[in-house]
Subunit: 431 residues, 2 copies
C-alpha cells in the first residue's frame, strides 16, 4: 500500500517526488523508420503499418460521412445526453477564454496591438485499445472549433474488426469533425506530421497516447510540427486536513491508480490520523474494482506524507507540481492562494477529479511529470497563436526615431538604423 | 540581386517559400557530450568549456553586484536614454497583456476558473560575438519581470578580455536582473538546463543564438526544460502597392539582409513597376553599408514577386508565414483582416521593422522558418502558465454526477465512476 512519510525534510523531497523515469530512446529508430516510410510512400505505408502493427488489413482508413452519421443510432440515449452535457460545459469554459485584442499606444504615434489567430490545421490523436476514450475528443475538438481551426484531422486506432467504436464516431460527429481516420500509433502521428495522399499535413498535433505515440509526437517536431506538450504517466495529489473525508479521498486516489501501473498517487495531510483512515478506506474499496490489479500496482509506488505545517505542505506540493491536485481543507483560501505549479485543481470534498476528467468544463489534457512547472494544460490558446502589430505615424517615427537609431548603431546594425534615418530625412524634406 | 517572379502559380509557391534547410544533427554528439560533462562536473565543466571554446580562462563567471552597478557610468547618456525609452514602451505593451482570471459557472453548482501563474525559474540566453545584443535583454527580461518570475538567470558569452560589454550589463541591471553569468554557447544552455553549484536549474530557456545554441536548446528539452520556440534564420516579407515608397522598402529589405547571409528577404507587390524601383533603390543603398557583403549574399537568395490580385498575394503571404511582415498598401484593412500566419506585422510607410526590433513596444523574439503557422512570438504568456480550477457544490455534484458516472463507465473506468457514486451516496444518506 501507500508508503508513509512523517514530516520529511526538504532534502528528501526530491526522492519522494521523483517520477519513474522512462527512457524512450530505444524506440526512436523504429519511429524514425516509420516516418521515413510514410514520407516516401504515403498512404501505402499507412496501409502496411496498420497491417504490421495492428494486424488489420485496411485500405479505406477514412471514416465516411455515413459512418459518422449512423453512429448516433448505436449509442444509448442516456450516454448521448451525458456527452452532450459534458460538451456544453466544456464549451462554456473554453468560450470564456476568448480574449479581446490587446491594444495600446506605447508613446505618441506608436500603436501596438496583439491579436490571436487560429492555427489553421491541427491533428488530434485519440487513443484506443482497451476502451474507447471518447472524452478526449471533447477535450481537443471543442477548443479547436472555438479557436476557429480550419482543418481538424482526427486519428484513432481501429478495433480488431477495422472499425471505430460507435461512441467515438458519435462524439466526433457531435463536435463537427469531418476528417476522421482509422489509423493508430506511430503511423497516425507520422501521417498527420508529414501528410499523405489522403491526409493533410497539420501544424500541431494534440493528444495522449502510449510510449510509441509519445516518441512519435516528439519526433514529429523535427518536421515543422508543434505538439501540445510532452507526455508522461498520469498523476494525482490530494491534500487534506481533518475536514477531509477518508472515503472520498480513497476513491479519488483509486480513480487515479486505475489508470495504469505507472500512475502516480500522492496523499498529503496535516492531520496524522487521516493517513490510517485513508489507507483503510482504500483497502475496503479496492477489492470491488475491475482494474484492481492495476490499481494495486500503482498504489505500491504511491506515498502518504504528513506535514505538521500548512506552509511546508504547500511548498512540497509546489515542488512536485501535480497534474491533478485535490484540495480538501478548512482553509481553502490559503491553499488556493499559494498554488504555483499544478495542472488542474479540484477544490473541496465534492469535487472529484473524475468530474474534471469528463464534464465540469475544464480540460483533462494536462502537464504530467512535473511539467506543470512550465506548461499549461490544453486550453483555447493551445489552438491559437498571438500575432503582434504596430503602426507608427509620421509624428510617431519622428519621436521614436532617434531611440532606434542609437540602439541600432550600438548593436552595429547600420542598415537597421538607415531604415529609420531614410524616413526621418524624407519627413524633413516634406516640411 | 532579388530574383523576380511574375504571377507565380500556387504550384510554384512551395519552392519560392522554401527556407534553407539546415540539418544540425551533426552537432548533436558535441552538444550531448557538453551536457554530460556539465551534469557530472558542474562548474568545473563550465570553466573547461569556456577555455576550450571561447579561449578564455575564467573561474569567476558570475557578474558581481559592483560590475552591474558600475556599468551605467560607462554607457553614453543618449544611449541610456534610448534604452530607457525602449524599456518604457516594451513594458507598456507587455503589461497590457496581463489578463484577469477567467471564471464561469458552467452549470448550477459547478464553478470553473483559469488563472495564470509565473514560471518560477527562467533562463535568458543573450548572444554576444560581433556586437552586444542588449536589445534582446529588454525583450526577455521585461516580460519575465512583469509575469513575476521569481528567479531570472541570464547568460551571455564573455568578450575576449573576459568581461561583458558595459551596455549589456547596464541593460541587465536596468531590468532588475541579479543572476548574470559570463557564459556562452552550449555550456551556457547546459548550465541553465541542468544547474551547477553556482547556477540554478531553470524551467524554461529563452533567447536566440547560433546553431550550437539552437541545438543545445533543443537538447535541453530532454532534461525537463521547455524552450521559447525552435529557431531559424531571420526573415522579412514586405508587401506594397503603388503607395509603397521604394526607398523605404529597399532600406527595410536591407535591414533584414544585413543580419546574416542566410537571412530571408521577400518582396511582394501588386504594382509591377515597383519591382524595378525597389531593385534600383537597393543598389543605390547597399554600397553604403558596413555589412554590405552579408547583405549582398542574403539578397542573392531573395525574391521579388508580383501578383495581379490582392487575394492571391495574401494567400501567398499566409502560406509563407513571415517572421516580420511589413504592409505598405492603400487598402490596409483588407491585408490586416487576412493576416493568419505572421510573427510581427508593421503597418504603413512609417513603420520600419527596426522600430519593432528595438523600441515600439512589441517583442522581437519571433517565430521564423514558417513556425508562425503554429507558434506565437515571445509575449507575456511565454513566462506564465495557465492553471485551471473547479469547485463543485453538493447540489452541483448531484446535478452533474450521473453524466460523469455514465461516461466513466462507458470508458471502462469503474474507479472514476466510484469517486462520484460514493459522494452521491453520502449525500443521499445526509437527507
Amino acid at each position: 500500500m501507500m508508503q508513509p512519510y512523517i514530516n520529511p525534510s526538504p532534502f528528501e523531497w526530491t526522492s519522494i517526488t521523483e517520477r519513474p523515469t522512462a527512457s524512450y530512446e530505444s524506440i526512436e529508430p523504429l519511429v524514425a523508420s516509420v516516418f521515413k516510410a510514410v514520407l516516401e510512400q504515403g498512404d501505402q505505408a499507412i496501409i502496411d503499418f496498420t497491417l504490421k502493427f495492428d494486424g488489420i488489413k485496411k485500405t479505406d482508413f477514412k471514416v465516411s460521412d455515413d459512418e459518422l452519421e449512423n453512429a448516433a443510432s448505436q449509442v444509448p440515449e442516456n450516454l448521448k445526453k451525458a456527452i452532450q452535457n459534458a460538451k456544453a460545459n466544456i464549451e462554456c469554459f473554453h468560450k470564456a477564454q476568448l480574449t479581446d485584442k490587446v491594444q495600446v499606444t506605447t508613446q505618441t504615434g506608436v500603436e501596438c496591438w496583439q491579436e490571436k489567430k487560429p492555427i489553421e490545421k491541427v491533428g488530434l490523436y485519440i487513443p484506443g485499445g482497451s476502451a474507447p476514450l471518447f472524452s478526449t475528443i471533447l477535450m481537443l475538438a471543442i477548443p479547436a472549433q472555438i479557436a476557429g481551426c480550419k482543418e481538424i484531422v482526427m486519428c484513432s486506432p481501429p478495433s480488431k474488426d477495422g472499425t471505430l467504436p460507435a461512441v467515438v464516431l458519435y462524439t466526433a460527429q457531435l463536435c463537427g469533425l469531418k476528417h476522421v481516420y482509422k489509423i493508430g500509433g506511430i503511423q497516425a502521428v507520422a501521417a498527420m506530421a508529414l501528410g499523405t495522399q489522403s491526409l493533410s499535413k497539420v501544424h500541431k498535433i494534440f493528444g495522449p497516447g502510449n510510449q510509441y505515440v509519445t516518441v512519435a509526437k516528439q519526433w514529429a517536431t523535427r518536421h515543422q510540427v508543434a505538439i501540445d506538450m510532452p507526455a508522461g504517466p498520469s498523476e494525482l495529489l490530494v491534500v487534506a486536513d481533518a475536514s477531509g473525508n477518508p472515503d472520498f479521498i480513497a476513491a479519488d486516489l483509486l480513480s487515479q491508480a486505475e489508470h495504469g501501473k505507472d500512475s502516480q498517487v500522492l496523499f498529503v495531510t496535516t492531520h496524522k490520523p487521516l493517513m490510517k483512515k485513508v489507507s483503510e478506506a482504500i483497502e475496503a474499496q479496492v477489492n470491488e474494482l475491475p482494474r484492481k490489479e492495476i490499481a494495486l500496482a500503482a498504489l505500491s509506488n504511491s506515498k502518504a506524507i504528513y506535514f505538521e505545517e500548512d506552509s511546508t505542505a504547500i511548498n512540497f506540493i509546489n515542488s512536485y507540481g501535480p497534474e491533478h491536485y485535490i484540495i480538501c481543507v478548512e482553509n481553502e483560501e490559503l491553499y488556493l492562494d499559494k498554488v504555483i505549479n499544478a495542472g488542474s485543481v479540484f477544490v473541496g470534498n465534492y469535487t472529484p477529479e473524475s468530474a474534471g476528467d469528463y464534464a465540469s468544463g475544464t480540460n483533462h489534457t494536462l502537464p504530467t511529470n512535473g511539467y506543470a512547472k512550465q506548461y499549461s494544460g490544453v486550453n483555447l490558446d493551445s489552438f491559437r497563436k498571438a500575432i503582434t502589430f504596430q503602426k507608427i505615424t509620421k509624428e510617431g517615427i519622428q519621436l521614436l526615431g532617434e531611440t532606434v537609431e542609437l540602439m541600432a548603431a550600438a548593436e552595429g546594425l547600420q542598415a537597421h538604423k538607415n531604415a529609420v534615418s531614410i524616413r526621418l530625412k524624407a519627413l524633413e524634406n516634406e516640411i
